[in-house]
Symmetry: C2
Subunit: 123 residues, 2 copies
């Protein structure tokens, strides 16, 4: 017997994705999330595009399982927001929240990443 998912007109799907509220976002967690090259790459791409992207739009050097893991770390640390949209899962940077919590931090991090890439070239 399956759980009759009550009318649920607000949420398009029954799948719940827990996100930390702003007060729960920890700087250490954000830094740890961004200290992984794969995750930093994801965040840079999200920031560059400026829109929500589905997981499959990223060309990452890891398997799908690992990709799921990295997106979850980013979501649980408060860096991105994930929402289901049909079969796709959309990912958006929590820019407003992060800027409110740590003004200027995200921009400084993105600028630093861009600078490092410019210095070392794309490898």
């Amino acid at each position: 017997m399956r759980a009759t998912v009550t009318t649920a007109s607000s949420a398009p799907s029954s799948r719940a994705l827990p996100h930390p509220v702003c007060e729960e976002i920890r700087l250490e967690g954000v830094l740890h999330a961004l200290s992984d090259p794969v995750r930093l790459r994801i965040v840079r791409r999200l920031a560059a595009e400026g829109v929500e992207l589905s997981c499959s739009h990223f060309d990452l050097p890891v398997t799908k399982s690992t990709t799921t893991h990295h997106f979850r770390v980013l979501r649980e640390s408060g860096v991105i927001r994930q929402t289901y949209e049909g079969t796709a899962k959309m990912n958006g940077l929590r820019r407003t929240d992060l800027d409110g919590l740590f003004p200027g931090l995200l921009d400084a991090l993105l600028a630093a990443a861009a600078r490092q890439e410019a210095r070392h070239g794309v490898r």
Copy 2:
């Protein structure tokens, strides 16, 4: 008062402390180093004091062994510079180097840390 300074130019002792040069400092490494609460605390203290401090001037909730470990991580990631001065080991923030590599990043990180402490500390 400097007493019995050893031979001025070369290393004062056989103890070598390898530091990364600027080009070797990686953003991911810096973020990883600062994602540990103990290390973030060390860096904040160094930034606040603005001068070099010996390891024993820090009151950290870990043993000496662990303290040594954290200082080494900070040094190897390029965040601090360590030099021997007699029996003491002095630690200084590599502010100039970091500002040159990633302008604004260190200040943004320190501001973010201060903001988080203000939020969670004084009510």
